[in-house]
């Protein structure tokens, strides 16, 4: 095997003359390593405080000093959440700030896209457990479904509107993404705003639906259904739609951050990974909703 030219180590295809050519930032591409970061540890510290706050609120830590007082638990929970969110933003900020010193933006973008796809695969499996639970119970228990009462009707026009709203938001999100690729920044901004509004509208519809259902006594512990299969159905209904709603909310935060960065002029026509990730995530949430809608409302 010939020994020249020797390829540089993977991920950083710099000049192959070893150790002498520095890039414009003064780094040697052949020995460049990612800079250190305290943020992952700080985020973990915030995450560690939160469950102990919850346990303390439950009053289960007598004799643990201040942790024995539920009020301290509230403080701990809120502090932990604040540290978690704040440090997560610090982490994102460090990533954005370090963008110029990465050596192979194309490879980095591709890796990030792999990341999002794999992450969504994991998410899909979590929803898969919800669907698995639903269809198994549906198959073995003929009573598994919503109660049919005189004043209670499951489904109806509201959820159809909600579905329509969410599906439209996926289209506007895609238009925004295409506009971004053509560097039509104003159109992209407008369409992201529309997407966010539609998403909020969807959450509003579902929130109203939840409120209506709970008012009419459709929840797992309500006396009229607590001892029947309707209770398990209610549990999976609220868990499935709630878990999905959480994802919509996270997607909205992502879209909002994309909008803010667009306003700050962060994105280029060829490099706007955060926008791509947010739009993929949004489409994923959309697809899951369609599956969930069919499962809960049509089959159930």
């Amino acid at each position: 095997m010939s020994t020249a030219p020797i390829p540089a180590a993977a991920g950083h295809p710099g000049p192959s003359a070893p150790g002498h050519l520095l890039d414009e930032h003064g780094n040697d591409p052949n020995t460049h390593i990612p800079p250190p970061s305290l943020w992952p540890l700080l985020v973990t510290v915030g995450l560690t405080m939160m469950p102990f706050g919850v346990v303390s609120i439950l009053g289960a830590l007598p004799g643990w000093g201040p942790l024995g007082y539920p009020l301290f638990g509230v403080v701990l929970l809120l502090t932990g959440a604040a540290i978690f969110v704040g440090c997560l933003m610090g982490w994102c900020h460090q990533i954005i700030r370090e963008k110029p010193i990465s050596h192979n933006p194309a490879a980095q973008q591709r890796d990030l896209q792999y990341f999002v796809l794999l992450f969504l695969t994991g998410e899909l499996m979590a929803f898969g457990a919800v669907f698995g639970y639903f269809y198994y119970r549906h198959a073995v228990d003929p009573n598994f479904g919503p109660p049919h009462g005189a004043d209670f009707h499951f489904g109806g026009p509201l959820v159809a509107y909600a579905t329509f709203v969410l599906l439209s938001s996926s289209i506007t999100c895609e238009i925004a993404h295409h506009a971004l690729q053509k560097h039509q920044v104003n159109l992209a901004k407008f369409m992201f705003v529309v997407t966010i509004l539609l998403g909020v509208g969807f959450l509003g519809c579902m929130g109203f639906e939840w409120g209506e259902f709970i008012r009419r006594g459709f929840y797992p512990l309500h006396p009229s259904i607590a001892d029947s299969s309707h209770s398990a159905f209610a549990a999976i209904f609220y868990t499935g739609t709630g878990f999905h709603g959480l994802h919509v909310a996270i997607g909205l935060v992502m879209l909002f951050m994309v909008l803010a960065r667009l306003q700050a002029g962060h994105f280029a026509a060829h490099r706007h990974f955060a926008a791509v990730a947010a739009s993929w995530y949004w489409h994923f949430v959309d697809i899951v909703w369609v599956l969930l809608f069919i499962t809960v409302y049509v089959v159930g």
Partner: protein
């Protein structure tokens, strides 16, 4: 190799801060490693408490019998039903069993393999770091809150989770208001997130950061194994999170997922739980399968026999592993066709596993074998794992499983594959790669003691368990009939040997730092045959691993020449 130019750092950290801020896969691998060593000792101590309790038949069942037979008083027990023991009542025993399993599975064996994968995989594929270095750091830090939650839960009101590591409802729904079980669930969530993030990171690293020329057909088997295991972790772990979340919600939010009287289904919980936890068994063994291939090849001075056979076998174990989960729960009631299916599918797993075992034997065949400690552990693994595997074949047969379910036969079987398999693998990997990871050798003479004590200890601990189980001793019970006295004495004695060897190993591990630095890249003198990148850089490697991909002519691992 060319001298690296000094690299302008963005920010310098020294001392402890250097470790707290690190995103270097090697440092993170070492943090994983020491976390695992610590947790292994904690889990081992929990096992000690269990064995101490089972050292004698116990106070209640035995009391009448003992008085009748010989008049011997039962020795001091750690747990007694009336709470008079050292650690209180039998509930504590259940907590101890639960936490022994949880610590060993979530904090020792699974992160143990991740520790080595973190350190070795980027080196093996010639990368400078993992694809997402900060996320890698996040993954290891997340294990700490997870472990803190589980271990501190011993001291909260009501004590730790006591429903076994499987947390089957309705048992796990008892004691609502006592947060031990809830803290356990949250701990599993943290460990699960850590596991998923690590899996994504490995997948992207292996797909995307391979050095030029490191094609899929040259990928070392350890990298292949990590790749497949990461797929399992990514796909299965969210399902575990869903299962334990059902328990959390049923306990705290009034849902009825697993409450049969409200239309829920405790058996469905078991299905969802084992959909994760059976593939998790392969998370706990496949990376070691990959690593052990390198060890057999290295110390036989040969190439791995049947490279593609090994890759395909690993892949098929991954795939079939998702379709056999219900063999953990034959006795809960399921249709005959389902029993037959899960029995046959479980037996099918033996085929790729057999391919691997015979390929390892063929790797050694005709080789120039050096019995270093790593090689001894590899050979020891092969024998103990095959014994455990045969136990698995027996348990996969529905008819026999109905007799053996929840007996000590099951306990003996899975300890034989987890301790005789995974833990032996971890020791073999440690003895093989510790020189690379620390830059210091472990003592070979002490290592031989560690191996023989552990090997005999493992056989002595877990073989008699099979006998106890066949005779009818139930698992998870703190007392037993005096008929099982002999086998339980053997088991306790074996435990002592095993734990002693682990302690000797631990002392040697610390002592290794006082030995002189290794000055060569390849202390085992194997890389002329094996041609693996991690032996082509210094011990330990510099921060940037390689200035360039080492210019060694890569031998085709399939045996062909370029």
């Amino acid at each position: 190799m060319n001298a690296p130019a000094p690299m302008p750092e963005i920010r310098h950290y020294t001392g402890v801060m250097n470790w707290l801020t690190t995103v270097d896969h090697k440092k993170i691998g070492l943090i994983y490693f020491w976390f695992v060593v610590l947790m292994g000792l904690v889990g081992g101590a929990f096992a000690g408490a269990i064995r101490f309790q089972l050292a004698s038949p116990g106070a209640t069942l035995e009391a009448l019998q003992a008085a009748q037979l010989a008049g011997t008083a039962a020795p001091m027990a750690l747990f007694n039903a009336d709470g008079s023991g050292l650690f209180g009542n039998y509930h504590r025993y259940n907590e101890m069993v639960t936490m022994h399993a949880s610590v060993m599975i979530f904090f020792t064996i699974i992160p143990g393999f991740i520790a080595f994968a973190n350190y070795i995989v980027p080196l093996m594929i010639g990368a400078r770091d993992m694809a997402f270095p900060k996320m890698n750091a996040f993954g290891v830090w997340l294990l700490f809150p997870s472990a803190i939650l589980m271990i501190t839960s011993f001291f909260v009101k009501g004590g730790a989770a006591a429903s076994g590591w499987t947390a089957y409802p309705p048992l796990s729904l008892t004691g609502v208001g006592d947060p031990g079980q809830d803290m356990w669930v949250m701990g599993v969530h943290f460990a699960g997130v850590s596991s998923i993030l690590a899996a994504i990171n490995f997948l992207v690293t292996i797909i995307s950061l391979r050095a030029p020329g490191m094609t899929w057909s040259k990928l070392p088997l350890f990298v292949w194994a990590t790749f497949f295991v990461s797929i399992i972790q990514l796909v299965a772990t969210p399902v575990l999170a869903a299962a334990v979340t059902m328990v959390l919600m049923d306990r705290n939010f009034g849902t009825s997922f697993t409450v049969a009287s409200s239309g829920g289904d405790p058996v469905l919980y078991q299905h969802i739980f084992w959909f994760y936890s059976h593939p998790a068994v392969y998370i706990m063994i496949l990376p070691g399968f990959g690593a052990i291939s390198h060890i057999f090849a290295a110390f036989s001075r040969k190439l791995v026999f049947g490279y593609w056979g090994m890759v395909i076998a690993t892949g098929s174990i991954t795939a079939v592993g998702f379709a056999v989960w219900a063999h953990h729960m034959f006795t809960v009631g399921m249709p005959i066709w389902a029993q037959n299916y899960f029995m046959i599918a479980s037996l099918v797993i033996a085929v790729p596993t057999g391919i691997k075992v015979f390929s390892w034997l063929a790797t050694m065949w005709g080789g120039t074998i050096r019995f270093t400690t790593a090689m001894l552990f590899a050979c020891g693994f092969l024998s103990t794992f095959v014994i455990g595997g045969f136990g698995g074949l027996i348990l996969a047969l529905v008819q026999i499983d109905f007799s053996f379910h929840d007996s000590y036969f099951v306990v003996g079987h899975f300890h034989m594959v987890l301790v005789g398999g995974s833990v032996m693998l971890l020791f073999a990997m440690t003895y093989y790669w510790w020189p690379k990871m620390s830059g210091h050798m472990l003592s070979e003479s002490v290592g031989k003691w560690v191996f023989w004590l552990m090997f005999i200890g493992i056989l002595c601990t877990f073989m008699p368990m099979h006998v106890s189980g066949m005779e009818g001793m139930a698992r998870r019970i703190p007392v037993y009939w005096a008929d099982f006295r002999l086998t339980n004495h053997l088991t306790t004695g074996g435990y002592c040997l095993t734990f002693l060897s682990a302690l000797i190993f631990f002392i040697d591990l610390i002592a290794s730092y006082r030995r002189p630095k290794i000055t060569v890249d390849d202390p085992w003198q194997i890389n002329d045959v094996q041609q693996s990148f991690e032996w082509a850089t210094s011990c330990p490697p510099p921060d940037y691993n390689f200035v360039q991909v080492p210019p060694i002519p890569v031998i085709d691992p399939t045996g062909g020449k370029h």
